[in-house]
Each structure stands twice: as structure tokens, then as C-alpha cells.
């Protein structure tokens, strides 16, 4: 079972039931569970959406779209059924927070899904987990069955005349499916290839019906927002960035783990105090602040508050909360190569700039790292990445290009050190075997 960590600076809202046996429904109820759903049932959709707007909760999948606003876009009247879709396809390298939510607090996901359903007037929600999370799917399936047995799901939820149902779904291995339109395609039994937008899912989504798609952490946060009140939740974070966030500290830190910290928490403090600093007292070289697709930050750039706006201003993204810490024993060219190899492997191939771009970037970086690079390759890598930006249906092309640009721009000297047949200065050549 994954190790839980804790630190005095943590503000435990979403994680407050972790380690307390809340996967068991009676325990969840004993700890105050399902009270928020009952309250929402009594208060009605407008009240829910106003609370969500007041909370300034923003999407935890990476894009950071305000949740209340997203829900308000769903038309009240619809000829087709409306759906709630919970994105638990957690696949962004560096991110493992939903893993813990499904493990320790599955009912918070169910309760959040019910509330989203009440807000938009939907009778059916789907909770989609990546296929590798089989043991977590089994936990979710049991939790859903228990919620039906208690009458919290079904034709008359909590004894009301309101109906709400949940279906759990497994993926079968695909990063791309974490993109919302690809997720809907997968759930419709197709290849997970993205759809062009507009129309947006709030209008034409799953099975053609209006659909709200939220990250699992966002959904698990919803019952807490309702319990605390939107304004109180917002007050925990920074302006326009309500509440807390599950930060996944990984890589070269002394105490890796998932920590729940207020939005806007200082990144340097997060690394040096919360995660215990660079392992073995080593020297910090770089930080990937929000999952592998976010541009790298240098040690002198980490005195920033970790919220969507401040990290954006620093030229990167808060992304999915995966903070990957890199010490000075690491070859950045190799790190860039491993990153692009992933995106090359995961590109669905539909959009040419992404399909060709990721492939050429991988080829160039492989050759470059092996010591067969030329000076012009550095500019070429940058040129290739720049030409992928904004030219694809879904954000995978950008996700591959952005970190590459960051590595080339901020570590140009290290690229130059690999030139002219010199071996990698870190002398730890790694064969990237993925095909």
C-alpha cells in the first residue's frame, strides 16, 4: 500500500479521511460523509452552483478551469440526457494523487459525483479509472455497490424522488484518454482520439448529451466545499485559487509523497521544508512544477506561490500537481529525451504536428544524447517544438512541446556540452527502449 506522509504545514481537507478506514461506507458516514449530498438535495441546483463559484475551486486535472462556471454552462433544458463524467485516468507523469483518493476515500468521489449530478440535472454519472488501477477500480465498485445498498444511489436517493446512478469504468492504457473529449470517445467504446471543439462537452458531450467532466480530485473536493461553505473554502487559498491542492512531490527529494497544502504555498518551502530538501543534501538543478508537460523552472525561479496564476506568471503551469525535483547529478538532455519519448509513445497520431513532431524530437534527442548531435540540432529542436504549439486538436501536442522548449531554452549550455561526439557529461547513458 502506498506510503502516507504528513507535514505540519498541511491543511487536510480532501485528505482528512485518509488512513481512517473511510473506504468502508459506515465509517465514511460516521465521519460526516454524505451530509453534503443531502444538503445539496435540499438546497437545489442554483444554490450548489453559487457555492461552487464562491469557492473559486479550479479544475485539478491541470487546466484550472473554475468548476462552478463549468457547471453553469450546462443548459438547464436538454432533449438529450445529461451526464457527469469523473476523470480518474490519472496518467500525467509525476501525478499520483487520485490514486490515494480512490484508495482511502472512494465515497468522497461518489458524493461529489452525486452533487455534480444534482447541480446540472443529470441522472447518470461515470467514474472512469485508468486500467492499471485495477485494485482501485475494485474499491470504487464496492463503494458504489454499498452506496446503492444504502439508498444513496438509485431511483430515490436519500429517500427523495430524485434519481441518480453511477457506473464505474476501466480504461486499458492510454494517456491521451485523460483529455476530456478522448475520454468520452473511450467511454463510447472507441479509440481515444480527441474531438474537435466547439461544440464543448457542456453542450454536446457523452452520447451527444450535455456533459460535465471533472478531475477526480476536483470531484472529491466538492463535498468538502459544501460542508465548509464556498467562501470558507476559498479563504484557504489565494484570490481566484480557492482551497488546497494535493501536491505530489517526487524525484530527488528526501521525503517524497502526496502533501495537501494551501493554494499559493511557496515552492521553495515545499521542496526544502515539506519534502525535506534535495536527497542526501544534494544540489537542486531544476523543478518540473506540475507534471511532465509543464515547463521546467530553475532553482532561482522557485520563490513563487503555487497557484495557477503565479506559476503561469513564472512561465510554467501548475498543471496536475506533480512536482518533480531534479538534482545536479541528472543529465537534462536525457531527462528531456525521456519526457519526449513518453509523448511520442502516447500521441494518437491524428494531428500531424503532434505525430511527426514528437517522433522527430525523440529521434533528434536520442541522437543528440548519444553524442552525435550538431550545433544546428539545438535550434532545430526548438523550431520543431515551437511549430507544434497550438496546432493540434487536443493539448497533447502542446504538452510535448512546452517542456522541450523549456529544457532547450534554460539548459542550452548543457545541450552544447553534448556536441561534437563528446559523450554525455554525466556518463550515465540510458537506452530508451520504448518503441
Amino acid at each position: 500500500m502506498p506510503r502516507l506522509v504528513s507535514h505540519p504545514d498541511e491543511v487536510k481537507i480532501v485528505t482528512k479521511r485518509f488512513g481512517l478506514g473511510a473506504a468502508e461506507i459506515n465509517r465514511y458516514v460516521e465521519l460526516g460523509g454524505y451530509e453534503s449530498a443531502k444538503k445539496c438535495l435540499a438546497q437545489g441546483p442554483e444554490w450548489i452552483i453559487e457555492e461552487m463559484k464562491a469557492s473559486s475551486l479550479r479544475g485539478r486535472g491541470g487546466a484550472g478551469f473554475p468548476t462552478g462556471m463549468k457547471w453553469s454552462f450546462v443548459p438547464k433544458q436538454s432533449a438529450k440526457p445529461k451526464y457527469v463524467l469523473v476523470n480518474g485516468d490519472e496518467s500525467e507523469p509525476g501525478t499520483c494523487k487520485d490514486h490515494l483518493i480512490f484508495l482511502h476515500d472512494p465515497h468522497s468521489v461518489i458524493e461529489g459525483t452525486i452533487i455534480a449530478g444534482l447541480a446540472i440535472g443529470s441522472k447518470l454519472g461515470f467514474i472512469y479509472l485508468r486500467g492499471e488501477y485495477r485494485y482501485l477500480i475494485e474499491i470504487m465498485e464496492k463503494a458504489v455497490a454499498d452506496a446503492y445498498a444504502k439508498g444513496f444511489l438509485g431511483k430515490n436517493i436519500f429517500g427523495s424522488d430524485t434519481e441518480f446512478n453511477i457506473i464505474t469504468q476501466t480504461g486499458a492504457g492510454a494517456y491521451e484518454v485523460g483529455e476530456e473529449s478522448a475520454l468520452m470517445e473511450s467511454l463510447e467504446g472507441k479509440r481515444g482520439v480527441p474531438r474537435i471543439k466547439p461544440p464543448f462537452p457542456a453542450v454536446v458531450g457523452l452520447y451527444g448529451g450535455p456533459t460535465v467532466i471533472n478531475n477526480a480530485e476536483t470531484i472529491a473536493t466538492v463535498p468538502h466545499v459544501i460542508a465548509m461553505g464556498g467562501a470558507a473554502y476559498a479563504a484557504v487559498g489565494t484570490p481566484r485559487n480557492g482551497g488546497t491542492r494535493l501536491f505530489c512531490l517526487s524525484g530527488h527529494v528526501e521525503r517524497p509523497g502526496v502533501y495537501e497544502l494551501p493554494m499559493g504555498y511557496n515552492l521553495r518551502k515545499m521542496i526544502y521544508e515539506v519534502a525535506g530538501g534535495v536527497r542526501g543534501g544534494g544540489k537542486l538543478k531544476a523543478v518540473v512544477p506540475g507534471g511532465s508537460s509543464t515547463p521546467v523552472l530553475l532553482p532561482e525561479e522557485i520563490d513563487i506561490g503555487m497557484d495557477f496564476d503565479q506559476v503561469g506568471k513564472a512561465g510554467s503551469m501548475l498543471g496536475s500537481g506533480g512536482v518533480v525535483v531534479i538534482d545536479d547529478t541528472t543529465c537534462i538532455v536525457e531527462f528531456a529525451l525521456r519526457t519526449i519519448s513518453f509523448y511520442q509513445h502516447e500521441s494518437c497520431g491524428r494531428c500531424i504536428p503532434c505525430r511527426e513532431g514528437t517522433d522527430w524530437l525523440k529521434k533528434s534527442l536520442t541522437r543528440f544524447h548519444a553524442g552525435f548531435g550538431e550545433a544546428k540540432d539545438i535550434d532545430n529542436i526548438q523550431y520543431l517544438a515551437e511549430n507544434m504549439m497550438g496546432r493540434t486538436f487536443c493539448p497533447l501536442g502542446d504538452a510535448a512541446a512546452m517542456p522541450t522548449l523549456g529544457f532547450v531554452k534554460k539548459f542550452r549550455k548543457e545541450f552544447e556540452d553534448h556536441l561534437n561526439g563528446k559523450p554525455c557529461p554525466f556518463a550515465k547513458h540510458v537506452e530508451i527502449a520504448m518503441v
Binding site: P2, R3, P81, E90, S91, E92, P93, G94, T95, C96, D98, H99, L124, R130, G131, E132, Y133, R134, Y135, I167, Q169, T170, G171, A172, G173, A174, Y175, S186, L187, E188, G189, K190, R191, G192, V193, Y207, C248, L249, S250, G251, H252, P256, G257, V258, V288, S292, G322, V324, I326, T330, F335, R338, T339, F342, H345, E346, C348, V430, A433, M434
Partner: protein, 173 residues
Amino acid sequence: MSAETMSVFSPALAARFDLLVEKYPLRRSALVPMLLYAQDEIGYLSDAVISEIAHRIGITELDVRNVATYYSMLRFKPVGRYNIQVCTNISCMLRGAYDLFDRFQEELNIGNKGVTPDKIFSLEEVECIGACCWAPAIQVNYDFHDELKPELVPGLLDGYRGRALAESEAKNA
């Protein structure tokens, strides 16, 4: 499927599939889960598996293959009884995933996507499995092993080898 005897699946899985296709607003929403659960039982997506799933959902075999080839967990040939998936993505790489992967290759004497001659193990380098804070992490079939060190590899393999032997003995008994 009219009669269970015609199914390539066990009666339990066939019954599960009967329910699964009725669960969704559209039958083919059951496709991806069915492919994965079928693979779990049969070991891979054989022609017979694809044919039966196509029939159960009411789509062509070509359509099933088109979808199945998209997903990286789905495979079209058998692997070992225990498929070892070593994540080498960034968080795991930084904490020694390639040393771990090398150790597995040495201990098993197979390379990436190889299968041991006794068919007990297969080995695969995989992308992020969502265990970044507990790196380096691997999965053996669906079981996670977190914070694994190369020196723990022989013991881990012995454990699974023992399970495989016990399973085959139980089968023969």
C-alpha cells in the same frame, strides 16, 4: 451468445459480460472493459476472443481490432503468467528505474517484451503507472510494488515463482 458452452469465456465471465453490455446507454460502451477482462482470463486477445466480443456487442471484428490496437494494455499474443511492468518514466527514472529494469533483465535473462522459456515471467518497460511518489514502482500483473530496490528483485521473483508452481500443482491435483 445463446448457450454458455459456445463461449470461449468461463461461465462466470460470460455471465458478467451479459450484464455489462446492458449496463450502459449504448452497448459498445462495454467494449474496452470487456477486452481487458477477457484478456485477464484468457491471457491475450486471441482471434476467438475478438470474434466473441464483436458478436456480443454487435459490431464487426475489424471494429473491435481497431479499438483494441489503440490501448497499450491490450495485447495480441500471450505473455508470462506474471507480467512484470517496470515504470521508467521521469519520477521513477530519477530514483533508479533503469537500474531496476537492468536487474530484471539480468535475473530473467530476457529483454524488453521478452517471455521466459518456462512462461512464468515476461518483462516490459512501461510508461507512468501513477505511483510517482513511491518510486521506483513496478506492477506485476495488477499488483503494485513501490520503492523497489534492485537487490530486492531476486526475492520478489522467487515469491512469484513459488506462486506459479503452487498454482500449477493445484491445477494438476
